[in-house]
């Protein structure tokens, strides 16, 4: 469990990045901090591994104040995945993954063996082990970044917009991969993004931040969607533009979901699984055969 207690951060240039921030992040769950730039989300994330120290307030991990811990040692037991992968360009894939175990003194042979196994975990072919990061695609680099974050089997995984720089298709793939990994590993994940869709997809707990790290709303995706706390949240999740307010409409070839501006949003499917549409009770006359196929 990670706890922020009245944490503030003022940078030397006077910017108040975070003001009186308190939050509990439950263990083995994914908490997503979501906000625009200037919301202090990355600053909050970096406070957890002491890349940034708060000006006031305290942060505890499992009841231990992290200000009592040595920053370098602390960082070596917390996984960190960043945008643009942050891989060391002069190290091969395998050495990048093995970086932190090596820093912690794991014998080189063991570290490399573990790193190879981690490539499997994140769905990378072992033949890529001796490549340099520049020889990989963006999606592959990001996977290596995740593997590196997992290398010391940390309880906590910090992810700073890890999928922000890859194209939408690869991003969707990586998001699913992370959901799969998380269901297997059950880490305490702190995920920072500006993309509300991503936040709702990945977060058990979603924290919507305003400027200066002020919390606009905390809750599960469903809670936030159903009851936006205020106009800011409503606008942030797109509820004010009618994007989230869907209604059922009967069209010529079946029932479809339409948002309040008349844009098609999808179809209503019993059980929520696309492949069940064919067997469902609602196939309208003349519905296209491929209409319910998963994309």
């Amino acid at each position: 469990m990670i706890e922020f207690r009245s944490v503030s951060k003022q940078f030397p240039d006077g910017t108040l990045a975070v003001e009186d921030f308190s939050l509990t992040l439950p263990s083995h769950q994914t908490t997503v901090l979501v906000g625009s730039s200037g919301s202090g989300k990355t600053t909050l994330l970096r406070m957890i591994n002491r890349m940034v120290d708060p000006s006031s307030g305290a942060i505890e991990i499992d009841g231990v104040g992290i200000h009592t811990l040595e920053p370098v040692q602390l960082r070596r037991r917390i996984g960190y995945v960043m945008q643009n992968s942050g891989l060391l360009p002069h190290r091969t894939v395998i050495d990048n993954v093995a970086t932190v175990p090596l820093l912690r003194g794991t014998p080189k042979k063991n570290a490399r063996q573990d790193a190879l196994a981690l490539l499997d975990t994140v769905g990378l072919d072992r033949s890529l082990a001796d490549r340099y990061p520049s020889q990989l695609s963006g999606g592959q680099q990001q996977r290596v970044g995740v593997a590196r974050g997992l290398a010391v089997n940390p309880n906590i995984l910090l992810m700073d917009e890890p999928f922000g720089a890859v194209d939408p298709i690869v991003r969707a793939e990586l998001q699913q991969e992370l959901i799969r990994l998380q269901s297997e590993l059950g880490k305490t994940v702190v995920f920072v993004t500006h993309d509300i869709e991503e936040a709702f997809l990945l977060g058990d707990q979603v924290v919507i931040l305003r400027e200066g790290g002020r919390i606009a709303q905390i809750g599960s995706p469903a809670e936030i969607l159903a009851n936006p706390a205020d106009d800011f949240v409503a606008s942030f999740v797109g509820a004010d533009r009618g994007k989230r307010a869907l209604h059922l409409e009967r069209r010529g070839d079946g029932d479809v979901l339409v948002d309040s501006e008349g844009r098609l949003a999808g179809v209503l499917v019993p059980g929520g699984r696309p492949h069940e549409t064919k067997a469902g009770p609602f196939p309208g006359p003349g519905a296209p055969a491929q209409g319910g196929e998963p994309q």
């Binding site: 591994n49 602390l74 960043m82 942050g86 060391l88 002069h90 932190v100 820093l103 912690r104 999606g139």
Partner: protein
């Protein structure tokens, strides 16, 4: 040409002398420029001071320097050590800025990432910043090497034996072939050292290797990802 064939031994000896005079300054200037460049890159104040002073070093005319150095360092006027020191100073003048720029060229994201991983202060320098500034350092070192080899010929004027001695001797005795031999040999030594540095860079900086294999690998990687 007959002069060259009958004096190959002499040319070879002067070439060796030349290497002995020019290789140490290249190495020393790198080793001295490293901490200075680091300091210049680290603080804004030290950057201004160090880069200005080291840049001015290069403006000192070489001949007066050869005569002043013995008085400062306490070497004898004709000691080859004077030349080594003078060439080191010129090398430092060029190299300090290169080191500062090289360290500054390291991607801030990569540095952040190294901090996040748990590299401690000095290990970031040795294991991340220094290797990553390698390509810039190498480029600077190649300039220093060639410039040092060329400058070392001036040593002949103060009696330090080098390929420059072939010019001075050739002028005094009116042997044109000797002058040309000196020039050609100097150029060859410069090319040799430059080539050695390029090879060193390929070995020490394997991730920077350009062209064919890498580009193909990256393309192949993308194809693999698209098709899976």
């Amino acid at each position: 040409m007959t002069w060259i064939w009958s004096n190959l031994d002499l040319i070879w000896d002067r070439t060796l002398d030349h290497l002995v005079l020019s290789v140490p300054p290249i190495v020393f200037s790198f080793l001295i420029a490293l901490p200075l460049g680091w300091l210049a890159n680290r603080y804004r104040l030290s950057r201004g001071v160090i880069l200005t002073v080291s840049g001015l070093l290069y403006a000192i005319p070489s001949l007066p320097l050869f005569f002043v150095l013995p008085a400062i360092v306490g070497t004898s006027l004709r000691s080859p050590l004077n030349l080594v020191i003078a060439l080191t100073l010129y090398g430092v003048a060029l190299m300090v800025r290169v080191v500062a720029d090289g360290l500054a060229s390291v991607d801030a994201d990569v540095r952040q990432s190294a901090v996040a991983l748990g590299y401690s202060g000095w290990s970031i320098f040795w294991q991340v910043e220094l290797p990553l500034s390698g390509p810039v350092l190498l480029a600077g070192l190649r300039v220093v090497a060639v410039s040092t080899v060329s400058l070392a010929t001036v040593g002949a004027v103060i009696g330090a034996q080098s390929l420059g001695s072939l010019f001075t001797d050739g002028f005094q005795r009116g042997i044109e072939a000797e002058i040309i031999a000196g020039i050609v040999a100097t150029v060859l030594v410069a090319l040799l050292l430059d080539g050695a540095l390029v090879v060193l860079g390929r070995v020490a900086l394997p991730w920077t290797r350009p062209a064919g294999s890498n580009g193909a690998a990256a393309r192949e990687a993308r194809i693999v990802e698209v098709t899976t």
